[in-house]
């Protein structure tokens, strides 16, 4: 008496099919699971046994063998409780489970036979819809809406085993769950709006440039100057997520198990701000069975590191590879996985340990040695990838009380979108999209300056003690500023402004 049920599991953020074969034969009572199951899968024997019994079925008194195929890779988690239980019921003829060929079953069981939601459903549903149309996906009720985002498959959510039995036997009718995507997107994401920040023209302008060119950004300023408040408003300036991007973002959150139950699809750009005590594994991703870290959760969004200098050095250094490649490959003894990690990095830090260096009202109490040691943490190859560095002064109270109308995020976003369109048009032939992605070759090709601008930049490099490596960064940022002004040529004022965003290159710190 053999039965075969299709199930699926995730590897990284991709999914693959798993065949659950169940054989029940007479002999000494035993219950074996083979096919490289880990501890959580082994424990499913106890859950399945009780769930079958407590749902009013009979657990076969003989020898039960379950095989998870392909047997070559390790199976983890509790996703297989549900298919194993269905396999046993159908192998013992308690349930006539036809059409098993196109039905994929995923879910966890409780001892009472209730079905519990699991993580990583969207990747599976999305994968099935890509393979071919017509799959049926049986899920715990709590996962049904997440699965219902995928098109071309019918998703059914169940409360417990008995309900599955009734449905399969045709005793009750259930309609497939399908989530209307238009509605999800039209319930437009509510980001904090830029107009809530008073004053801070420089900070806002820097955000606009960052959003347009995809650059990374550093804010430096005394405590309470509004660095965090500004950074939180960056997602609202970025173009809205496309469906494809939204699915990618949701997949990562689903695999990491942090998808909110009421949100089948994440339609807002993520904003992640991990605390500075975070470990490198939590930031980058990893673990024995690799899970996505904060950088992947910030995919297509913003990763904000407040008090950036308080992060441990190895944590910051680990960011270098993903900043370069837009993804992260985590290799462990058992397996290696690649997660996407294409995010905008925003750093915030104080100008000195006490935070008040250069403040007009408070006096800095740090010794010069303390300041230079603090600063030295910010140097090096890591900072080379941060194109804009801006000082945020404390805003005077009178300015905050000012009733002047501030620009809304929507207005800024329109400019950002136009600038982005110009960039992708120009960079199409080299296969890039944003100015920040340009390397030295592309910069040479696309960032030609007008003669007076060239002249100014050369003078500034000589006279203001700008370091040589800031040259390319100034050009990249100047290109974005010119795009924001919808100017084809890079003019004097674009370069002049770009130079302002290199505060850490300036020698006046020393």
């Amino acid at each position: 008496m053999l039965s075969k049920i299709l199930s699926a599991t995730t590897m990284g953020i991709e999914a693959c099919l798993v065949e659950v074969e169940v054989d029940v034969s007479s002999g000494m009572p035993s219950f074996q699971i083979v096919g490289l199951p880990d501890t959580a899968v082994q424990e499913s024997r106890e859950r399945v046994r009780s769930a079958i019994k407590n749902s009013g079925f009979v657990f076969p008194p003989g020898r039960v063998t379950v095989n998870l195929a392909p047997a070559s890779f390790k199976k983890t988690g509790s996703d297989f409780d549900f298919p194993i239980a269905l396999g046993i019921l159908s192998a013992t003829k308690q349930l006539s489970f036809s059409l098993a060929e196109d039905t994929v079953v995923v879910g966890e069981l409780s001892l009472s036979g209730d079905l519990k939601p699991v993580s990583g459903i969207l990747p599976i549903a999305h994968f099935l819809s890509q393979v071919r149309n017509g799959f049926r996906l049986f899920l715990p009720g709590g996962n049904a809406r997440e699965g219902g985002v995928a098109r071309g498959i019918s998703v059914f959510g169940f409360k417990n085993l008995s309900q599955v039995y009734d449905f399969v036997q045709g005793k009750i009718e259930l309609s497939p769950v399908s989530v209307p995507l238009e509605n999800l997107f039209s319930v437009s994401a509510k980001y904090p709006d830029l107009c809530e920040v008073k004053g801070q023209r420089q900070g806002k302008r820097a955000l606009e440039i960052t959003a347009s060119g995809g650059h990374h950004l550093l804010f430096m300023g005394p405590p309470g100057s509004g660095k965090t408040m500004l950074a939180r408003r960056l997602p609202s300036l970025l173009p809205l997520l496309s469906l494809e991007e939204a699915i990618e973002v949701t997949k990562i959150h689903s695999v990491a198990g942090v998808l909110p139950s009421h949100k089948p699809l994440l339609t807002m750009r993520p904003f992640r701000s991990p605390h500075h005590t975070i470990s490198d594994v939590a930031l980058i991703g990893g673990g024995q069975w690799p899970r996505p870290g904060e950088i992947s959760l910030a995919h297509h969004g913003v990763l904000f590191l407040d008090e950036a200098l308080e992060f441990r050095r190895n944590v910051l250094e680990a960011l270098r590879e993903p900043l370069e490649t837009g993804q992260i490959t985590i290799s462990r003894a058992q397996m290696s996985t690649t997660y996407p990690a294409n995010f905008t990095l925003v750093l915030a830090c104080n100008p000195c340990p006490c935070g008040f260096l250069g403040d007009s009202k408070r006096t800095c109490t740090c010794s010069p040695h303390q300041v230079s040691r603090y600063r030295s943490k910010l140097s090096g190859p890591f900072l080379d990838r941060v194109d804009l560095q801006v000082e945020i002064p404390r805003v005077e109270f009178s300015e905050m009380a000012d009733k002047k109308k501030e620009e809304t995020s929507l207005e800024v976003r329109k400019r950002v979108q136009r600038a982005r369109a110009l960039q992708s048009e120009r960079l199409k032939m080299v296969g890039l999209k944003l100015n920040a992605e340009m390397g030295p070759q592309e910069i040479k090709k696309f960032c030609s300056l007008t003669a007076p601008a060239e002249n100014l930049l050369r003078q500034a490099m000589d006279n203001l003690a700008l370091s040589g490596r800031s040259y390319h960064r100034i050009l990249r940022v100047a290109r974005t500023i010119a795009d924001l002004g919808e100017s084809d040529a890079i003019e004097i004022e674009h370069v002049a402004e770009a130079i302002q965003y290199r505060v850490l290159d300036r020698k006046y710190w020393e």
Partner: protein, 364 residues
């Protein structure tokens, strides 16, 4: 002078300063005699405790080879009895009985010495003042004496080095321990430009907290005048000013903004009667020296002949000498970012304004 190695040896002993060394010389006639004197005689001169201490320490020291080693390191030893010893320093209370010097500087060839000191937590204003005054004094061939510390001291030395001038740095440590270490290059520049590094401590002595206030008396002692550039209420610079007063030196101070905590001390000095210094010429006049240069730039004329555009003039008007944030300037001009930064950068390139920490600019 055969006695010199023994002077050097005595400078290595703890418990022996200028006063006791003078006593020893008076008692024994020479340092050599004292070095080899039995404990009983030392005890008669200095008391039993110190005598015992000296006996304990001296058995590990071999004066001729110690002296030889120091000479081989390129360090000169100037003793109080020698002609090369700075004559200004001779006249203070308890001058060090010897000083160590690195560099070719010869005190007999120069006669204009001005000390410049101030806080380590220098403001952008103090930095500009230090550099400006030092450069002006360098042009007048005045020897500037300072302490090689971070902040004002460092910028004073830097100003002189920029002009290729001669400066003296008095250390609070042995000459083989340059402190702070980030000024190692500066110390080398001082020596290579014909200046000198000076210390009363033996070359191998590392810096110690208590050495620094004591060496301040040498900074003022080597000079005819002391300029306090920027000093908060409690500052080593004020200790130096007190030494200068005791030593009968002219004390001068640079006025600072009344809101600035780092100018409280220097402003207080002016209230107490220190002469107010605005330029190198003021310093020379205060000392009765003649200026060797004819031109002395007046601040209110700066920028008059630079052909500023009308917008540049507007922006320059808004920038003051104590610093204003770019945020505020953007707000007050109401110009577009690109236009604003272009004009600001032009002013900066013309040397009229300067960026400072905290996102601000200041008149240069």
């Amino acid at each position: 002078m055969e006695d010199k190695p023994f002077w050097v040896a005595f400078s290595h002993l703890s418990g022996i300063g200028p006063i006791r060394f003078a006593k020893i010389l008076g008692f024994f006639g020479s340092a050599q005699t004292a070095w080899f004197a039995p404990e009983k005689d030392l005890s008669n001169c200095l008391g039993p405790n110190l005598a015992q201490k000296i006996v304990n320490q001296r058995k590990d020291i071999h004066p001729p080879s110690l002296y030889q080693r120091i000479i081989e390191q390129g360090i000169k030893v100037l003793t109080l009895e020698e002609e090369s010893y700075p004559y200004l320093l001779q006249n203070i209370h308890h001058p060090p009985f010897l000083i160590y010097q690195r560099g070719d500087f010869d005190f007999r060839n120069h006669d204009r010495y001005v000390a410049m000191v101030g806080t380590r937590r220098v403001s952008p204003y103090g930095r500009n003042v230090s550099l400006k005054l030092a450069r002006e004094l360098a042009k007048e061939k005045v020897i500037v004496v300072s302490g090689l510390a971070n902040g004002v001291d460092g910028f004073c030395h830097q100003g002189i080095i920029d002009e290729g001038g001669i400066t003296l740095a008095v250390l609070g440590s042995g000459l083989n321990h340059i402190y702070p270490p980030n000024h190692l290059q500066m110390a080398q520049d001082i020596v290579s430009l014909g200046g000198g590094l000076i210390s009363e401590y033996p070359p191998a002595f590392p810096p110690r907290r208590e050495y620094f206030p004591i060496r301040n008396r040498i900074i003022s002692g080597l000079s005819q005048a002391l300029i306090v550039v920027e000093a908060p209420r409690k500052s080593g610079a004020l200790i130096t000013a007190n030494f200068a007063l005791e030593q009968g030196r002219e004390v001068m101070a640079v006025p600072g903004p009344i809101f600035s905590p780092v100018s409280q001390g220097s402003n207080a000095l002016i209230r107490q009667g220190a002469s107010l210094v605005q330029s190198g010429v003021d310093v020379l006049e205060g000392l009765g020296f003649f200026s060797q240069c004819l031109s002395s730039p007046k601040t209110d004329q700066i920028g008059a002949d630079l052909n500023l555009t009308s917008r540049e003039k507007i922006l320059l008007e808004l920038v003051d000498f104590s610093g204003v944030t770019k945020e505020e300037l953007l707000e007050r001009t109401g110009w577009e970012e690109g236009e604003f930064y272009k004009i600001l950068l032009n002013l900066e390139l013309k040397g009229l304004v300067q960026e400072i920490a905290g996102g601000g600019v200041i008149r240069a």
